[in-house]
């Protein structure tokens, strides 16, 4: 029997949890807003961007969404603000800003 993990929350008793806290669902990391951890924030300067997409694959948190072959603004729910994209951008189209 697969336990419906949506029925489990921080008030569930021990016997209501899954074995070994296994998660019976896909892509559950989307529900975990790691963007809360951010202390510095990358800012996308669209007018400088040439859409070379060098920033996309280096993002450790898959937080640069690509739509129709073009990157869009950051997914701030999941971006941890590591700044790797800033280093990867050859055109200065991403700047780090202090704070959330």
């Amino acid at each position: 029997m697969r336990t419906d993990i949506n029925k489990i929350n921080e008030k569930s008793a021990y016997y209501e949890l899954t074995e070994g806290l296994q998660m019976y669902a896909a892509a559950t990391s989307k529900q975990f807003n790691t963007g809360e951890w951010r202390t510095n924030t990358p800012v996308f300067l669209e007018e400088k961007c040439k859409q070379c997409l060098l920033c996309v694959p280096v993002c450790p948190d898959s937080s640069i969404p690509v739509v129709n072959c073009k990157r869009t603004d950051f997914d701030y729910d999941h971006c941890k603000g590591c700044g790797i994209c800033v280093k990867a951008c050859p055109f200065g189209a991403i700047e780090m800003r202090e704070g959330q």
Partner: protein, 393 residues
């Protein structure tokens, strides 16, 4: 008809692995367990089993690969000793908390220092709180028998915990003894096919193993893990009963050798139990009512059953092949004395440290210990409740 052969303990375990034909075996060599992966890879090379053997770069990797392939849905195992087990430390706990029913052949060897390759139980005892089931063998036959029972225990839906099948380095791993083996088809029928309900490589049924847990979940997860260890007690007995029906051999949590009317009992684990039994036979001829309780299952710890089994005795010697450096006794000494207290069993109990790093443990050592117990009971002779035997002084 059982097959009669002669084998070392390592050969016996490797033969059991060949018969079980598990899916994946990642391993890294270390004395005295090296022969086990070596022999299994020879069986694979000869086409006698089709286990996927992964030569890895360390024991940290062999345990990681074992629990990874187990999570993927493959029946997995590894083998190691001593420092190899120590290097697996982190992954041992991960395997148990992720509820992976993988197996390990542990060939007990001491840990440094001083650096030494011989037998004691320091490695296994160091892993006693990692959440693994631990079963110890007196001889090659038991190492084989225990290994055949490993997966039926670990994979039971009430358990889903990793299992360590332990035997004494060199003493049983390298000494050749007569052995009775089961036929391949009987082993495969007994062990069964691995059919996990949830596993990673299961198309259409995605899952995650080992997710990060905030404080609101971790304590509840550990309670569930502890309950699985409690449930393992029933399963271990059921599997042992089923194995005894098949072979006429084996014990539950422990073997009671001449204990029913014994005044003095030695509690001991591993190969030295054979030495203790020989000494008990000799002492019985002199009219001394001595007995041996040979512990087979150390995790889960059958505390209540041990206390009850010792209730009729006048004095007990608890033998630890491991120094805990806690100044209070070895692991067996501490846990059995706590069990006696909780069950209100008032037998005298003395804890001995013996056989460290391959130090000989002889029938004469056992005579001396039983004589200590007798003098303590009959003449009120006082001595330390926690002491070394076989130490030069």
């Amino acid at each position: 008809m059982a097959i009669r052969d002669r084998m070392s303990g390592n050969e016996a375990v490797a033969y059991a692995i060949k018969q079980i034909n598990p899916d994946v075996m990642p391993a890294f060599p270390i004395t005295p367990s090296t022969e086990i992966p070596q022999l299994v890879s020879t069986y694979i090379a000869n086409g006698e089993c089709d286990t996927e053997f992964i030569p890895v770069e360390s024991e940290h990797s062999s345990m990681s690969a074992t629990l990874g392939s187990e999570a993927a849905g493959a029946r997995s195992l590894t083998a190691t000793s001593s420092c190899g087990l120590a290097l697996m430390w982190e992954e041992l706990l991960v395997a148990a908390s992720n509820r992976m029913p993988c197996a390990m052949a542990l060939v007990n060897r001491t840990l440094s220092g001083p650096i030494n390759i011989n037998c004691d139980h320091t490695d296994g005892m160091g892993a006693r709180d990692t959440g693994w089931i631990q079963i110890y063998a007196e001889n090659n036959q038991e190492a084989y028998d225990n290994f055949i029972q490993a997966y039926p225990i670990a994979e039971d839906v009430r358990v889903h915990l990793p299992i360590m099948i332990c035997q004494d380095g060199f003493i049983t791993s390298h000494a050749v003894e007569n052995i009775e083996l089961l036929e391949d088809d009987k082993v495969r029928e007994f062990v069964g096919t691995y059919k996990p309900e949830e596993f990673l490589l299961n198309p259409g049924k995605p899952m995650s193993v080992g997710p990060y847990s905030v404080s609101n979940y971790a304590m509840e997860a550990r309670k569930n893990q502890a309950l699985a260890m409690e449930a393992a007690k029933d399963v271990i007995i059921e599997v042992a009963d089923r194995y005894r029906e098949l072979t006429g051999r084996g014990f539950g949590f422990f073997e009671e050798y001449k204990t029913s009317d014994a005044d003095y009992v030695m509690v001991i684990m591993g190969s030295a139990a054979g030495t203790a039994k020989q000494a008990v036979d000799d002492l019985r001829e002199q009219g001394i009512k001595a007995g041996v309780l040979k512990l087979r299952v150390f995790r889960p710890f059958p505390a209540v059953q041990i206390a009850k089994a010792l209730a009729g005795s006048k004095a007990v010697a608890i033998m630890d092949r491991c120094e805990s450096y806690n100044t209070n006794g070895g692991p067996l000494g501490s846990e059995i004395m706590a069990a006696l207290f909780r069950e209100k069993v008032s037998t005298e109990a003395v804890n001995y440290i013996y056989g460290l790093a391959g130090r000989d443990f002889t029938v004469e050592s056992v005579y001396g210990i039983f004589d200590d117990l007798k003098q303590h009971v009959e003449q009120g002779k006082e001595f330390d409740q926690f002491r070394y035997i076989g130490l030069r002084e």
